[in-house]
Symmetry: C2
Subunit: 497 residues, 2 copies
Amino acid sequence: HAHQPNDVIRTINGVFSRDKVLTIDTMNPTVKNVEYAVRGPIVQRAIQIEKELREGVKKPFTEVIKANIGDAHAMGQQPITFFRQVLALCSYPELLNENMFPEDAKNRARRILQACGGGSVGAYSASQGIDCVRQDVARYIERRDGGVPCDPDNVYLTTGASDGIVTMLKLLVCGEGASRTGVMISIPQYPLYSAALAELGAVQVNYYLNEEKCWSMDLSELERSLAEARKHCNPKALCIINPGNPTGQVQSRQCIEDVIRFAAKERLFLMADEVYQDNVYAEGCQFHSFKKVLFELGPEYSDNVELASFHSTSKCYMGECGFRGGYMEVINMDPEVQAQLSKLVSVRLCPPVPGQALMDLVVNSPQPGEPSHTTFMKERTATLSLLAEKAKLTEQILNTVPGITCNPVQGAMYSFPNISLPEKSIKEAKALGQAPDMFYCMKLLEETGICLVPGSGFGQKDGTYHFRMTILPPTDKLKILLAKVKEFHQKFTQQYS
Amino acid sequence: HAHQPNDVIRTINGVFSRDKVLTIDTMNPTVKNVEYAVRGPIVQRAIQIEKELREGVKKPFTEVIKANIGDAHAMGQQPITFFRQVLALCSYPELLNENMFPEDAKNRARRILQACGGGSVGAYSASQGIDCVRQDVARYIERRDGGVPCDPDNVYLTTGASDGIVTMLKLLVCGEGASRTGVMISIPQYPLYSAALAELGAVQVNYYLNEEKCWSMDLSELERSLAEARKHCNPKALCIINPGNPTGQVQSRQCIEDVIRFAAKERLFLMADEVYQDNVYAEGCQFHSFKKVLFELGPEYSDNVELASFHSTSKCYMGECGFRGGYMEVINMDPEVQAQLSKLVSVRLCPPVPGQALMDLVVNSPQPGEPSHTTFMKERTATLSLLAEKAKLTEQILNTVPGITCNPVQGAMYSFPNISLPEKSIKEAKALGQAPDMFYCMKLLEETGICLVPGSGFGQKDGTYHFRMTILPPTDKLKILLAKVKEFHQKFTQQYS
């Protein structure tokens, strides 16, 4: 409809009426620039189709299979028993008097409750997070990184990793015109980054991952991207997601070292999104934390390079997305800035306490000798092994499809295959004002009920097309999904050739 | 220390060193403008003193009594049994097989779990919140407002009320210079508002509550404030907190009507912070929701005035702050803007699911005939009656102190008494660069261990001084606290006279 000027008063059906105060024309324009493909139009259409199916509308399929989002429990992954026992005990401490829970679960719950105001997870915690949880996080980081020290004062508990990432970007982004803050992000990227940068009005500085070399980072590409950005903005930070989302690669130690040296030389604040740190499947691959490598490079780097690292309860073997737990560690942050960070997080009072409790359990899981250890290890290993199997399966089957090329899913929870699209389909998509891979994914959804996210939602090299699919559906469904994608791709290619 | 230019490289102890990328000079300046007194310097000092006490440092008191924040559980309020039973069941559904929980608790848990992906509170929910929870919220609002219809599509679950308020402000705030968005907030105010406005770079437009008339809103003051603001910015929204924080008043129906007519006439988007809707204690006072009054004014208003109303699990009789549950309802929002709102909330994935579950229980509590109803009502009534008693007690005792004048605590959880400060103390405070009531509260803390928040953290009329104290401490501690405040105030007045 046409937008009326703000002060027009109209009469509709005899009732006095006026235009809105808040309209698409008067609202904050930076919000309009925000996009988030993982929950974008494809997913909205998928939800609509599910409703149509329930209402009896005939479709060429009987259910929607969602592989659009890294939501493990929604795909049938079972929670870790120990974690949920402790959370139940924290929620309803009367259960501490029952004999149904193992002693280690009770002990963890008692310890967490003792650290809560009034012994209740219903009290606000300190804004930075519960003290003892931050201490446990620090010890976890030290173990993970072979003894590199971690100060609990540098650990901030967060509402999922997204919250920490946005908070750090808020501190960094300012300036106008050519001195506007630029933030380097990988392409393809996880769209939280582009969305947050759009909202903050920062300049998004793209560096491209090398698809030919299994989505690795090239130093020359970082240099190109930075040099170009410096012509029109003030690049201050470099974001890395490792293991990669949406691309599923695991960066080598050498690559991480290169990135750190680059950041040091070019004076960039490093942001390392390491939420998939347990999700490493490929042989020869290993997770190296940015912090560990930073300290191995010696004091010239470890005393200087500013780094924020993010983790979460939502991924790895836990998959506890709904609790919105997470933490960030800041390293070499200017003390005055850190005071500002602490003040900033206090405005939102505290991260959800059940999520903090869960984060504690992740970093302080049952130890050998404790009654829950065996079950915990069995569950953890089973989940990670199954994910490794599904990663392999996905890569193998996709690579049997002519016109689809899929890099190994070395880690994380996604494959991001390259799809060849016939010229005719690209033209038809463009005529509809759609990205060609959006056109492809929308057709896939309508014809097969499979919900994937087009590569254009993550960014990709011009002229290339991809989709992101999670490896999370149960194996039988994953096989159906992959078979359907294969069949669809062949049909689609024929149809538009 | 002096701030070096960014590109200076120094050598400290023989190690190559450089200035930080992110310093107090290069960081986002809007973050520096953020202040949040409720967790400000007084509270930080209180935490330090607690530590000193634990370490055996001698003080003229043995414990810190915190009355700085509306954190009921931390002050010993017990959670509602039914809520926690359902939360335990949701966390560890194995408990559904046990005989220890009442059937209504099990039914609620089953219903919530069925609405979760994979039957797990560990799955992401829809970004707007779980469907059935939003439906329950809508029915609750309809009951509360005597049948005024509520569309669940207009309900957004949030991470506490703060999250909803900041999200709405994000949509509203834009423009530069004289067309920069202004947002009207009461003075005194809850500092989330000033903090969010500072962070977004909006113009804070103050209107003063009338302390002489029990902190009521005066139409003439709203008009004055708006007229002045229009000279230098574009005022678009009017925020009201009712029942009031920090001032504890309950607005009359007439006052709300006046505000709505004012907003309609002046074309302002209304934001009603109604998180204390069950916290009404004074005789003759009643909570009137802005939505209900809006609809009672007829279609000229109910079809036009844009309103967002906020609620939370953190206050009322629940006091479940740690779960970060909440909702907002938007009324008469432009559909295009609402689509932008839905997109914006999707970037942060979803509010914490345990908090959503808790919000559901609040709006769908045990009904007559259900096994938990009697206990629930007993617990709810006991908590609210106790708060009413403590509200009265606080007002009465404070008003016995010469130099302290306290309005009735009609609702919410705070008293905000006016304190007369001797000229000499004001001079001494100013010499130290402190607000006079900050000087007073800091001294109170050091000498008595009582932690209150100075009025200057909320805003107040020039030349007046206040503090905010919660009425939440257990009655015996509240009496000690009030006696100590009385004694301190007399001593302080003498000392500086």
